[in-house]
């Protein structure tokens, strides 16, 4: 029986690069250590880690480094999606070998596929490993609620889904309702939110059990998650709303998000450099100034690592 206990805050790590674009493993270790210190429930290596800009050897190196640093203290989720089923299987088996505790995979999207091909893709990948898989439902590569149920029926490893197709709030509710109605599934599709954690609480209220935000304010996410767990919904939400403008800033697409994550991690003393691999739209100097204003107002505490 694969691990069905994951929940809570599982940040997606930013990948630290030096100015030449080489991975800085020392910074990566520091980032992981900080996550664990603040009490996250897992870490992920995924789209926000610029995983699609890594070579195959680099994918292995990053995962190996993270697994070693985590040292069994929390689960490690690795994105192993690919445009071809065989490549996705290769990545998935390799990730399991290197110590990943779960995988995250979005449907092939380079050429949009009909539903039965997507279901078969997940069935084959699911059967090729012995760890659980997060189906990833994104606007440009969707796993609609009905399809998610079909996929979950195909293999016991296909038991998590990260719902990110906007608007996520009704999407989460619909996925949960279909899951609950599918009595043969026995609740075996566990829902997570993503999309930067923007609607974390609205999603929790509709059936998600956790979220995968970026890695820049993990202590805030852990803190409000714990307040929520203690039943203090109102305080958790009021506290979280303070970070609304920052979270909005983190959601600018086309690589701006990657630069901004790392500008913050640099200012917080976790990374030495804010470099994002090309192609990625770079923020202008005003954007850095605006970011600093926001961080000043939020008075974030200095990370202990």
């Amino acid at each position: 029986m694969v691990d069905r206990t994951m929940k809570g805050i599982i940040p997606i790590l930013a990948t630290p690069f030096d100015e030449k674009g080489q991975i800085d493993f020392e910074d990566l270790e520091r980032e992981v250590e900080w996550m664990i210190n603040v009490g996250v429930n897992g870490v992920g290596i995924a789209v926000a880690s610029e995983i699609y800009k890594l070579t195959d050897p680099e994918r292995d190196e990053v995962l190996t480094s993270v697994v070693k640093q985590v040292d069994g203290r929390v689960p490690v989720v690795m994105n192993t999606g690919a445009m071809g089923t065989d490549v996705a299987i290769y990545y998935s088996q390799r990730a399991e070998e290197l110590g990943a505790n779960a995988l995250m995979i979005r449907p092939p999207s380079f050429i949009p596929m009909p539903g039965n091909e997507v279901i078969e893709f997940f069935s084959r990948v699911g059967a090729s490993v012995t760890i659980p898989i997060f189906l990833q439902d994104q606007s440009t590569a969707q796993v609609p609620p009905g399809m998610a149920i079909e996929i979950a029926r195909r293999h016991e490893n296909l038991c998590y889904i990260k719902v990110e197709t906007a608007p996520t709030v009704p999407r989460m509710a619909e996925t949960a309702a279909l899951r609950d109605a599918a009595t043969d599934l026995a609740g075996d599709l566990i829902l997570f939110g993503g999309a930067g954690g923007t609607f974390m609480f609205e999603e929790l209220r509709r059936g998600s059990v956790g979220t995968m935000p970026g890695s820049v304010i993990p202590e805030v996410f852990v803190n409000v998650w714990e307040q929520w767990q203690d039943g203090d919904e109102e305080a958790a939400e009021a506290e979280f709303r303070r970070y609304g403008a920052l979270i909005r800033t983190l959601k600018q697409p086309q690589g701006l998000d990657n630069w901004i994550y790392k500008e913050i991690l640099m200012r917080r003393g976790i990374f030495k450099c804010a470099h994002a691999r090309h192609p990625a739209v770079k923020p202008d100097r005003f954007q850095i100034y605006e970011l600093e204003q926001m961080l000043d107002e939020l008075e974030l505490e200095e990370p202990e690592v």
Binding site: R206, G244, Q254, D284
Partner: protein
């Protein structure tokens, strides 16, 4: 000479409908009056007004109502885009006749067109009228900065642009660096999410939603008079609300109606026209919590 003086905040009007889908003219008048009372520069009747769900007769009625209610206090911008050039020209002339101060038009997008055809579309409309046009640059029907500059050179009426392709912040910087002597006047949109970041990069105004005109008036004035940091700190308080509205066009219509009801502008039964997916009951409770925190209820 075409009116090149428009600047500042032009909220996109929410459209009040009763449960049978009839326009509630009295609520629309109250909305325009409320916005004018906060001293804003204009209003727009556009996609956020569900203009694409109105019949031709209703389009005219709504525009006439807004122009009368504005009574010269606000400029009125009317969306007159259509997939066909001929119909778009007719809509444009009719809006000008009814008193619109400017038009807003996105490129035809049902079939993707080469730049030459987009240019011919805009020029044909511009030649038919004597009021300025806001070209609308949206994802799926974009007017990229180099094309925008060409269009501005092609006709003097093509002198405004509303930039909404995400990420909008670098898009503004790119556009402003290219406009030069064309005098193209950029505005922001996208629900006002990056209102002040855009202003810092040369945006001359914005077309956000109509639900917090009081906040926009305050924040925009502060920013323009040099109190940038105060303006931004003020505006950041509304980020969770803006996020909630920005969930998608269907949700946004319901959410905006609810806010306008809570603020006493629309009657209690107000709702969007179908199709518009309705948020669940819980969503309205979550929204009320945000409105209470921001002290926006009943005023």
């Amino acid at each position: 000479m075409v009116d090149r003086s428009m600047r500042g905040i032009f909220p996109v009007l929410a459209m009040p409908f009763d449960p049978d889908g009839n326009i509630v003219i009295e609520d629309l008048q109250r909305e325009v009056d409320w916005i004018a009372g906060h001293g804003l520069s204009g209003v727009a009747i556009a996609l956020g007004s569900e203009v694409y769900k109105l019949s031709d007769r209703e389009r005219d009625l709504v525009l006439k109502t807004a122009v009368e209610a504005a009574n010269g206090r606000l400029k009125v911008v009317m969306n007159t885009g259509h997939e066909g050039t001929r119909v778009s020209v007719d809509y444009a002339k009719s809006a000008e006749d009814l008193g619109a101060n400017a038009l807003m038009i996105k490129p035809p997008s049902f079939a993707q067109l080469p730049n030459a055809d987009v240019t011919a579309y805009y020029v044909a409309i511009a030649e038919a009228i004597d009021i300025p046009i806001f070209m609308q640059d949206v994802t799926g029907a974009s007017v990229p900065p180099p094309l925008a500059v060409q269009l501005a050179k092609a006709h003097e009426n093509l002198c405004y642009i509303k930039v909404e392709v995400a990420p909008s912040v670098p898009r503004f910087a790119d556009l402003v660096a290219r406009t030069g002597a064309t005098g193209l006047i950029p505005f922001g949109g996208s629900g006002g999410q990056f209102l002040l970041e855009e202003a810092r990069r040369g945006s001359q105004g914005s077309m956000p939603w109509s639900v917090i005109p009081d906040v926009y008036a305050r924040v925009w004035d502060d920013f323009q008079s040099g109190n940038e940091i105060d303006a931004e700190i003020q505006y950041r308080r509304y980020a969770a609300l803006n996020r909630t509205i920005a969930q998608g066009m269907g949700c946004a219509m319901w959410i905006n109606d609810h806010i306008l009801v809570r603020r006493g502008v629309f009657q209690a039964t107000s709702q969007p026209r179908q199709p518009a997916p309705k948020p669940d009951d819980q969503s309205f409770k979550e929204l009320d919590a945000i409105l209470e925190e921001l002290d926006l209820i009943g005023k």
